[in-house]
Amino acid sequence: MSLHPVAAPGPPRDPALWPRLGLGVAALAVLWPALEIAEFRPATLLDPKNLEVMGRFLGTFFPLVLTPEFLALVVRSTVETLALATAGIALAIGLGLPLAMMVSESLSVSRIGPARRAWLAPAVRTPLRALLIVMRSVPEIVWALLFVRAVGLGPAAGVLAIAINYAGMLGKVYFEIFEAGDTRPARAILESGGARVHAFAYGILPVAVPEIVSYSVYRWECAIRASVVMGFVGAGGLGQQMELSMRMLAGGEVATMLAAFLLLILLADTVSAVLRKALV
């Protein structure tokens, strides 16, 4: 029995048909239980009772509260959010850069030097790498909850949370950038008697700077968004005000602050696009 009757030698069938069909079925088989477990039932969204509840919630958003006193508060909170994210990122860079440098192996002097204390380098690197993992895998909101208890309500807790959490992320990405770049310039410095820090500053950093700046600016954008979420647990900025207004069921205030937040994100997008374009 032949699949291709001799009488009608039509165009050959795409051999990719069966693999594609199989992959499609397999993807559905994985996705369906996932949706079930996550209790994803779109129909409940359209349930008239639920629609009414949502409608009432959104209805409270209007009219926006635009009194001068409230707008002044919104502006102050927006500036606070911006300051919080920027200070947090600055600290995160200051912490992440040296950590990345320390765990990086492309600067390993022992590769071209007498490896007499060869056990020392991994003994330092391994715990530092573990530290980076802890810093970035504990979510920033948990760090914020922790620091709110330590330094009290307000933006200082948010700054610390971003600094710790983002230093972990930046450190890992910086480290990967260092490892991926051309390491010959750094080796040349080491081979002519330069110190490890010199090799880093003269050989690796100039190669890595565009990528480092680009990623750090992207993270600054993320920090602005994250600072709003952290505000809900008392870490200052727009988020904290938004949470207060929500608790008081002042929908108009919430809407005004959402609008301010939208503008802030647009601004951050623009600034980061301009910065990155200027560098590449």
Partner: protein, 273 residues
């Protein structure tokens, strides 16, 4: 610096035997050119002499001591006295020429001076003077990625000139330069070595340059020394044997047939011109 190697062997990762027993003694202030077909081990030899690669077997002594047995601090001091011109200069594209040249002396400068020089160049005049010797002083504050391959190669030479090492190692330092510039650049290396009485070991692709500028020629083939002689004693036959199967003609600049002055007047010249 003087360098002595005895039966030096180097096996690179992948079981490739780059050096198969090389013995050489290079005195302080000597100027030596290494020639040979590609893959002969010229770069490997220079990397070992520059303490960048550790020999697999055999003895290496720089100023009488095996660098691989020195304590870390002394090895660093030794390395700061070795300047290497790399065939493809290891310079970050975004670095400015002034910084790239000043980096030559990082080993001699202290820790903080090296870092402070990133904020404001510590010795602009020095970097400029080194670049001027290679006609690049006009590009002092340009970025390396604005330069052509040949200009970049000369920046690598300028860095080593600025470093003022006691041992200059030059690995095909003029491979991307046109004949006039190549001649000028090798001449600068030669003047530097002769002027300060330091040792110069250069691997060269162009045999005519080697014969013109160097009082001692080492022919390398298959990781071993084929001959080691002053240029007047290097015969056409030795050169043909050295390059043998790889190329029917001996490589020179512009691939012109090797023109050699009559041995007699050249031999009459004293070695230290």
């Amino acid at each position: 610096m003087n360098v002595a190697i005895d039966n030096l062997q180097l096996v690179l990762p992948g079981e490739h035997r780059a050096l198969a027993g090389v013995t050489l003694a290079i005195g302080r202030g000597e100027r030596l050119a290494v020639i040979g077909p590609s893959g002969a081990g010229k770069t490997s030899l220079l990397r070992v002499l520059g303490t960048a690669l550790r020999p697999t077997a055999g003895a290496l002594a720089i100023d009488g001591a095996d660098p691989w047995l020195l304590p870390r601090a002394r090895l660093r001091r030794l390395r700061s006295g070795i300047g290497t011109v790399h065939q493809s200069p290891p310079l970050p594209p975004r670095q400015r020429l002034v910084t790239a040249v000043l980096a030559g002396r990082l080993g001699a400068w202290g820790f903080w001076r090296g870092l402070a020089s990133l904020a404001y160049p510590a010795d602009i005049a020095g970097a400029r003077a080194a670049l001027a010797r290679l006609d690049l002083d006009g590009r002092l504050f340009d970025r390396c990625d604005r330069l052509s391959g040949g200009q970049l190669q000369r920046v690598g030479v300028a860095r080593v000139l600025y470093q003022q090492p006691a041992l200059i190692l030059a690995d095909e330092p003029v491979s991307s330069l046109d004949p006039q510039l190549a001649d000028h650049t090798v001449g600068e290396l030669h003047r530097e070595a002769q002027g300060r009485g330091v040792t110069l070991v250069a691997s060269l692709h162009a045999v005519d340059l080697a014969l013109k500028w160097f009082p001692r020629i080492v022919g390398l083939r298959d990781g071993a020394v084929a001959f080691d002689a002053p240029p007047v004693r290097v015969s056409d036959r030795m050169l043909r044997d050295l390059y043998g199967a790889e190329s029917p003609i001996v490589p020179t600049q512009d691939n012109q047939p090797l023109e050699r002055p009559e041995p007699k007047p050249r031999a009459a010249q004293p070695l230290c011109r």
